[in-house]
Each structure stands twice: as C-alpha cells, then as structure tokens.
C-alpha cells in the first residue's frame, strides 16, 4: 500500500517535470521577448525600491528602523512572491483559465485539478524579475543588519519564505474561487492583494491599529514580511505584538491554504463553464 503511495508521488513529480520541460521549451521559443519581459519586471520593481529609499533617506530612521533593515524586510516580499510565482503561476492565472475554457480541458483529464492548474504554467519572467530584486536587497542588507546564518536561522528563513509563498498563493486562490460565480475577478484580486502588499513593504507598527489587525487577521501579509524580518532584527516595536506571531508564518500558510482549498472545492460545484465558446 505504501509503495503504491510513493509510486504515485513519483509519478506526480515526473509529470510535473514533463510539464515544466514543455513550459521551458515555450519560453526558449521566445527567448528575446521573455528576456525583455523579465527585465521589465525587474525594472518596475527596483524602481519602486529606489523611490522608497529616496523618500526614506530624508527621515533616516522611523521608529528605530534603519534603511538597511527596512530593505531587508522588503526583500521577504520579493523572494516569497518569486517563490510563489515559480510554483503557483497557475493559481495566479486561474481566472484566465476559466475565462478561455482551458479549465474545461482539465476537467476531462484523469488528473487532479489542482495538480493540473499548478503544473500547467510557469512564469519564469516574474520569477526571475522579482527574485533578482529580492536577492539584490538581501545581499545588500543581510550583512549590515547583522544577521548570522547559522543552521537555526537558515531553517527559519527557508520555512518563512515557503510559508509566505503559500499565504500569497492562498490569497490568489481565494479570489480565483469567485471566478466560479463571476468569471472575471482580476480586479477584485488586485484591489485586495496588491494594496495589502504595498502596506506590507513597511513595518506594520507604523500603521494605525486597524490596519495592523487587517494585516494580521484578514489579509495576513504581516506573516510574509514583518514577522519573519522581526525574527532576525528584534526591533523594539515587536513588543506591541504577541511573540508567538514570529513563528506562525508556516502555520498561517498551511491553515489558510486548507481553508481556501475547501472553499474552492465548494465553488467547483457551481462551475458553469465559460458559456458556449466550447460547444
């Protein structure tokens, strides 16, 4: 029984690998275009960082946060987003799949739906664009912020990134649930996701209590950037929050994903296909 289970997992991994191979092949088909796109993403993001730096240098430090510490916090956003896109591009593009009928095709294949959604797409451009910004920020700030890379910290860092990626995947999936009823939901998602993400680029202690609560309990971006960064930095404003929050990122990620997935299954029953474009 158990060997059957591991066989199945091996099959999944192999199939995922084949999908990735095909996606990579497509990317290589349009080398220049994809390279430029990755470059464009990189520039768009790095400019937002530069603007932030220019504004912040006028105040030097806010509530005891140095520039490099702020940027270290910011790097979590970029790296976890890059990781999220690398694994879950399909979740980001789900409403598109519903809209153009690709999802109908998934329904007539003998594979799990989530598996097909996740493995059918990889956006290398966004992965590289965001990832490069994240890595540059990390390399520039980790040293000066005095972070020691021992085994414990490294383990925490990796789980925090994965947890952060899953939190973002859950948020995207939540918005994609509404595509079962309303088909196009990109704007709803942009409203919730990218605006919250903008807040999460700064320490949440800067904000009024309402926004802090929102970023912890409703759109939990605090677990993507602020709490993981505080684990390493321990700035005095951490006193404002329960210390257990520092370790909750993977838990919040797993719980959210499970909850949203259940909701997604529920929505699937109401799926009405994208009209008559198919038949």
């Amino acid at each position: 029984m158990e060997t059957k289970g591991t066989n199945k997992i091996a099959e999944f991994i192999y199939l995922f690998f084949i999908y990735s191979k095909l996606n990579t092949k497509i990317m290589l088909e349009y080398k220049l275009d994809r390279f430029l796109l990755a470059f464009a993403v990189f520039f768009r993001e790095i400019i937002s960082v530069v603007v932030m730096v220019l504004i912040l240098t006028r105040f030097v430090h806010i509530k005891g946060w140095e520039m490099n510490e702020m940027l270290f916090l910011y790097s979590f956003l970029f790296l976890s987003y890059s990781l999220f896109i690398f694994f879950f591009t399909g979740i980001r593009d789900f409403d598109d799949m519903v809209y153009n009928g690709e999802f109908d095709r998934f329904l007539i294949r003998p594979l799990g739906l989530m598996f097909q959604i996740i493995s059918s797409r990889i956006d290398y451009c966004a992965t590289v664009g965001h990832g490069a910004v994240g890595i540059i920020l990390l390399l520039h700030t980790a040293g000066s912020a005095g972070i020691e890379w021992n085994a414990r910290n490294l383990l925490y860092y990796i789980t925090a990134l994965i947890g952060g990626a899953i939190i973002q995947a859950s948020l995207f999936m939540l918005s994609s649930c509404f595509s079962f009823w309303a088909v196009k939901t990109t704007n709803l998602r942009n409203l919730i996701f990218f605006n919250s993400r903008r807040f999460a680029g700064y320490p949440i202690s800067f904000y009024p209590a309402v926004i802090q609560k929102m970023l912890i309990f409703i759109v939990p971006f605090a677990f993507v950037s602020y709490f993981p960064a505080q684990f390493f930095l321990r700035k005095p404003d951490i006193e404002m929050f329960w210390s257990g929050y520092l370790y909750l990122t993977p838990v919040v990620g797993a719980a959210m994903f499970a909850l949203v997935y259940a909701f997604w299954r529920l929505g699937l029953k109401s799926y009405s296909s994208s009209g008559n474009s198919m038949y």
């Binding site: 192999y14 199939l15 084949i18 999908y19 095909l22 092949k25 497509i26 088909e29 349009y30 009928g101 109908d104 095709r105 329904l107 007539i108 294949r109 003998p110 594979l111 799990g112 029953k269 799926y271 009405s272 296909s273 008559n276 474009s277 198919m278 038949y279």
Partner: protein, 348 residues
C-alpha cells in the same frame, strides 16, 4: 444494462439579466437580477456500447450542455448519468481515463510546441503502455498522415492537419467512448471525408462508442445510424436517419429540359412549375406517382433533352423541423410523444 444511461437530466443556469442602456447597466450593476434558465429539461436516453450517435439541434438547444454534463465538465442540477456504471462528475478521474474528447473549435495541442510534445505528455497523463503507444502512432501515421507534420508547432499547421492531430490525440489512450464536437467544422470536402472514414474505421475496428454534435448533416448521415434531435432542452426525435428520411422525404422532384416549349402539361398528382421556357420542374409524392411511368410518358410525348431527379436532402428536412414546419407523426418510432403534445400545449 446500457453503456450510457441518462435519466431525467436537468440543468439550470443562473443568468444575470442586464438592462439596456447606460442607466440600465448602472442599475443592474447595483441590483443584480438573475433569471433561471433551464438549458436541459428532463432528458432521458440510453446508448449501447459501440453505437455511433449524432446529437443535432439548433444553436442554444441544449446539446452542448448535455455533452458537457456527459463529459463531467458540468454538474447536473438534477437527474442521473451513468457511463459504464460511473458518474462523470463524481468519478471524474476514473471516467476521464477511458474517455476521449475532440473539440473542433479548440485544440488540446500545445500551441507553441511540436505536435509530438503533446503526444508525449498525453502518453504520461493517460499512462499509455509503450507498445500501445507505438502501435497507435503507426496507425495514425497510416490513416491520418500524422508523420508529415508531427515535428511542426501546432500554430503552423493547417486546420485540416490540426484536426487530424487533435483526433489522434484524443484516441491515443484507446478510450472506450469518444465525444466529437463538430469534428469537421471548417474543413474542405476531402479532409471531411478522410476524417469521417477514419472515425468509421475506429468504430468498426475497436468498437468505440461515439457521440457527435454537429451541424453538418452529412457527418451524421455518413457516420451515425442513430440521430438525437434536441430543441429547447428536450429530445424531440431519437431514431435512425433513414426512418426520418423515409417518412418526411417522400417528395421527389423531376427537372426536365425540353427541346422545344412543351406548352401546358397536365398530369395527375404532379405539380408543375416552369423554371424557364424550356425547363420545367415536376413535384410529386413518390408513393402516388411512379418516376419511371412519369418519365416514359414525358419522353413519348415530348422531345426531352435532359432529366434530373431530386430527392429532398436530410438537411432540408431538419431545417423544417427546426422551423417548426414539420408536425411529427406520432406513429414514428423515434418520436418522443409526450414531448410533442407538451410543446403543442405550450404553443397554444
């Protein structure tokens, strides 16, 4: 038990009603009004293993919704579907592994990649054994000429090539049942014939059950022996193509080119209309007037240059059915009697 059995199938859609004009658009944005539309209304039928059945019906009749429920894409509002003992949506994966679907309007091939890449992927998805894969690829090569373009990207294929590749892709894993959605749409006559021939071959050799939706009556005539006509979400006819043709295609016409103007001709049971001075069209019922006697009379009395006999095509019969011009004869075996009377009472 029948291979496919569908009982009292119903599907309702909730449609947001939108009002006209800008003000209307604003008001329907603020207050959502939705109406319930019944796309499929209490349909029941059975299909045996190895049968080829054509689903036809005007646009929006509910045939696509029915097929979407049969393939497991949509969940029925009520009623039951069983395909070889499985429910298409509850046992989705199991059912999908023995089912093939061809969409004429949408390809399952990866657009930017060579056709062979999609085949490789499908081979792993359906876990097709090496031997079967090789054997099937050889067959596709022989019958559909896949080999000529297997290394080209899908976007570079002609429509005919793409359709052939799509059909091959749906058949790769030796499915027990195949759904064809307009498999010949947009193709030229030769390509259409080639595809029909292949479909007949697969049905004959492998005993695959096949369901078509199409608007091309020639598809139905040349491949299916059974035809299901759906209109307004109900089945209005379910029977053979020949039967409907026999019953409603009794009218014949004879077109005659005369050597000189024949003047007025009077024949019993025949309506005559002139198509020109020397060309006349004789229309008659084949059970009342014999074509041979009509021809011999005409050739004896007049100088005849050319003769053409026309029998009504199934297409024109179907057109009349769609337009409500044909009242079904209840004695015809395929007619769903309750439905006919029900529809009448609705119309009155």
């Amino acid at each position: 038990m029948a291979f496919i059995s569908v009982e009292n199938l119903v599907k309702d859609y909730r449609i947001n009603s939108r009002k006209k004009g800008l003000l209307g658009a604003i008001s329907s944005f603020l207050i959502r009004e939705s109406i319930l539309k019944r796309a499929v209304n209490d349909i029941s039928f059975t299909i045996e293993k190895g049968e080829m059945v054509g689903f036809i019906g005007p646009n929006g009749a509910g045939k696509s919704t029915t097929v979407k429920m049969l393939t497991g894409i949509l969940v029925p509002t009520s009623g039951s579907i069983s395909i070889g003992g499985l429910s298409p949506y509850r046992d989705r994966k199991k059912n999908a592994s023995r089912m093939g679907v061809v969409f004429g309007q949408r390809t399952q091939l990866w657009w930017d990649l060579p056709v062979s890449d999609t085949f490789d992927l499908l081979r792993y998805i359906y876990k097709v054994p090496e031997k079967t894969f090789k054997h099937n690829m050889e067959m596709f090569n022989d019958m559909l000429g896949i080999g000529d373009f297997i290394n080209q990207a899908t976007r570079q294929l002609s429509l005919g090539q793409r359709m052939r590749a799509d059909i091959a892709a749906a058949l790769l894993h030796d499915p027990e049942i195949i759904f064809f959605d307009e498999p010949t749409i947009g193709l030229d006559v030769v390509a259409k014939e080639k595809i029909r021939e292949f479909i007949r071959f697969i049905n004959r050799e492998k005993g695959v059950t096949m369901l078509f939706t199409t608007h091309d009556m020639a598809d139905i005539e040349k491949t299916c022996n059974r035809m299901v006509i759906i209109d307004n979400g109900v089945i209005i006819y379910d029977g053979t193509t020949n039967e409907i043709k026999d019953r409603y295609g009794r009218e014949r016409s004879l077109i005659v080119d005369f050597g000189e103007n024949p003047g007025d001709i009077c024949l019993e049971g025949v309506t005559i209309c002139g198509e020109g001075e020397k060309k006349k069209k004789f229309t008659f019922n084949k059970s009342e007037v014999q074509v041979s006697s009509l021809i011999s009379r005409l050739t004896q009395e007049y100088s005849v240059l050319d003769l053409t006999i026309r029998e009504p095509e199934i297409e024109s019969i179907i057109r009349e059915i769609y337009e409500g011009g044909i009242d079904f004869d209840k004695s015809l075996s395929g007619i769903c009697q309750e439905v006919v009377s029900e529809q009448r009472s609705l119309q009155n």
